[in-house]
């Protein structure tokens, strides 16, 4: 586990989130409040959602029949994406913290952690189930380096 991972504060902007993601080249970052209570994850994929028409970004919650089969009919350019990012860039990440990402408790078993890391292909927030405080994150690297360091 990485005990003091970089985190996003709920009041940080989407632009801050992009900078931090780019700086560390992470796939996602935990979002916390003033007391370091865990609010959810903000993933790189969410940024892409913000660049798309809002109905596509929210489609995960729709029945599959309500999802657009493709967007090939739109001919947007990088300039369009940039201008769209400028409008969403000032919004707070707290709004976009995804609470559905699986998390684990500090005392979770190793196999539970390996399974979650395998299924999410990402890192997993370690959250105290009682206080809801973010204790750290567990990444694929944490587990792989543990396996490698025999002595």
């Amino acid at each position: 586990m990485t005990a003091n991972p970089p985190v996003l504060h709920r009041e940080d902007t989407v632009k801050d989130a992009l900078d931090l993601l780019l700086k560390h080249r992470y796939l996602a970052l935990p979002v916390v409040d003033d007391n370091r209570r865990y609010l959810g994850m903000f993933a790189k994929s969410r940024l892409f959602g913000l660049l798309l028409p809002s109905v596509v970004a929210g489609e995960g919650k729709l029945p599959e029949r309500g999802q657009l089969p493709n967007l090939a009919f739109m001919d947007d350019h990088v300039a369009d994406l940039r201008s769209r990012f400028d409008t969403v860039g000032e919004q707070r990440v707290g709004e976009y913290a995804d609470q559905t990402v699986p998390k684990i408790a500090p005392d979770a078993s190793l196999m539970e952690a390996v399974l979650i890391v395998f299924r999410t292909r990402n890192f997993v927030p370690v959250v105290d189930p009682v206080t809801n405080r973010l204790e750290g994150v567990l990444s694929t690297w944490d587990i792989l380096s543990k396996i490698r360091e025999r002595n």
Binding site: P53, S54, V55, V56, G58, E59, K61, L62, P63, E64, R65, G66, Q67, L68, P69, N70, L71, A72, F73, M74, D75
Partner: protein
């Protein structure tokens, strides 16, 4: 022979009519409360009808109208395949560009597209297909999507009334009464066209005339390439051929001696065959599994359970008694009965789910046949029931599933789509549509 005996011996020696009535009331109450998923409610009601001895399993199964079930499943499967072709996005974008991307024009065009598509597909599916493109277009035009969404909800319920397959109440009436596709088109679509024209005019006055979009935003919509929305041209061709064949099948059903369920399920099978032919086994099973998962099993099992509950009630003679009371109340006058059914169905359907209501009304109306000179005499009543139950769904946000589906999509996109806000505009519009139906029924049948 044992199961025949079981049919008449209710547990605890209670009168089966009381048990059946209690179960019907409880089922209705639980569906209205929306605290428990409606499929669970209907299946529980059905199970208790059997366990408490009102029906045995054999009679319960006989009470399920598999023509309705097959038609629903067949159409759901066809849509699931056709959807992947991108046909519906094509239609929406094409229609938006036909009116040079003017917001008022798009508002009108999308109502027409929704009403026409809804006449052939169920309303929830229609709005699920048209609303996402609507959002994309509105976002581009920087106009508020709310008027578009309300207009489409209303158009989907209106368009669905026009045909046998457009709305579940019609499927039920068609199947249980034995009315065919053409009878629905001939009797209902004339008035439905008038109603949609009137409603579109109202929508234009309410919202359309004040909608504006900047020229550059309209240019962005004009830059949409609808042909790119077609993801799979081969699949589109196959879909169009099968849909046309299914439609021809419905139109000539009587001549062919086929029931709608056969036509729909056969159409679904042929479309899947065309889509899967030549693909490896694993891919085929993926396509088929996917098609099955996109069917709305909640609706299907809701129907199955409901059919059993209603056949339990019917078997005790309760519905015949209620029918007599209704005929007494209207003095056995056909005109009064038809108009009473129209308005009562409309108001009730605005508040409760119209499927259980219609399923209960059908055996009741059938029981009135002797009063009105046999089954032929009942025709005005069936059209009154259909128009009332389908159009009434527009009245409130909870009146029809399509309304709730769009409200859910809107709320997720951050657009307020509340009960009162919707009902304030939609209820008066619903009353106007039912008033037009009233005039139509009086003019044509009474």
């Amino acid at each position: 022979m044992e199961h025949h005996a079981a049919a008449t011996t209710a547990v605890f020696g209670l009168n089966p009519m009381w048990i059946a009535t209690a179960l019907l009331v409880l089922t209705y109450a639980a569906v209205i409360s929306e605290r428990i998923n409606r499929a669970i409610v209907a299946l529980l009601g059905a199970g208790l009808m059997i366990v408490l001895g009102v029906l045995n399993q054999e009679r319960a199964v006989a009470g399920v109208d598999f023509n309705t079930i097959g038609l629903l499943i067949g159409m759901m499967m066809i849509v699931s395949v056709v959807r992947r072709s991108g046909l519906f996005e094509f239609l929406a974008i094409w229609s938006a560009k036909k009116v040079k991307a003017s917001p008022a024009g798009i508002l009108l065009m999308l109502q027409i597209v929704t009403a026409v598509v809804s006449a052939f597909l169920d309303n929830v599916t229609t709005v699920l297909l048209v609303v996402p493109v609507t959002f994309v277009i509105c976002e581009r035009l920087k106009v508020k999507p709310y008027p578009f969404l309300v207009a489409q909800v209303i158009a989907s319920n209106i368009g669905g009334t026009a045909t046998l397959i457009g709305d579940p109440p019609n499927i039920l009436i068609g199947s249980l009464v034995g009315l065919d596709f053409n009878q629905f088109v001939v009797n209902l679509s004339p008035v439905i066209i008038v109603i949609q024209v009137v409603v579109s005019a109202i929508v234009h006055v309410l919202w359309g005339r004040t909608l504006v979009a900047a020229a550059e935003d309209r240019a962005k919509v004009m830059a949409f390439n609808e042909h790119e929305a077609i993801k799979d041209h081969g699949l589109l061709k196959k879909s169009l051929i099968v849909m046309a064949a299914v439609l021809v099948g419905f139109v000539s059903a009587r001549f062919l001696g086929l029931e709608p369920a056969t036509i729909a399920l056969l159409g679904a099978a042929v479309l899947l065959l065309l889509d899967c032919f030549g693909k490896p086994a694993e891919e085929q099973s993926q396509v088929v599994t996917h098609t099955f998962t996109e069917c709305e099993w909640i609706t299907i099992f809701f129907f199955v359970g409901l059919f059993i509950v209603i056949s339990g009630v019917e078997s005790t003679g309760l519905l015949a008694i209620l029918a007599n009371k209704l005929v007494e109340a209207t003095g056995g006058d056909l005109a009064t009965t038809a108009i009473a059914i129209l308005w009562a169905s409309a108001i009730l359907s605005a508040i409760i789910d119209n499927i259980p209501f219609v399923a209960t009304m059908i055996p009741m109306i059938k029981a009135m046949a002797p009063t009105f000179g046999g089954p032929e005499g009942l025709m005005p009543l069936w059209w009154a029931l259909s128009l009332g139950a389908c159009l009434g769904g527009n009245g409130t946000l909870i009146g029809a599933s399509a309304n709730l589906t769009v409200a859910g999509m809107a709320e997720r996109a951050g657009i307020h789509f509340g009960f009162l806000k919707y009902t304030k505009t939609a209820f008066p519009i619903m009353l106007i549509t039912v008033a037009i139906s009233h005039a139509y029924i009086a003019w044509r049948y009474l």
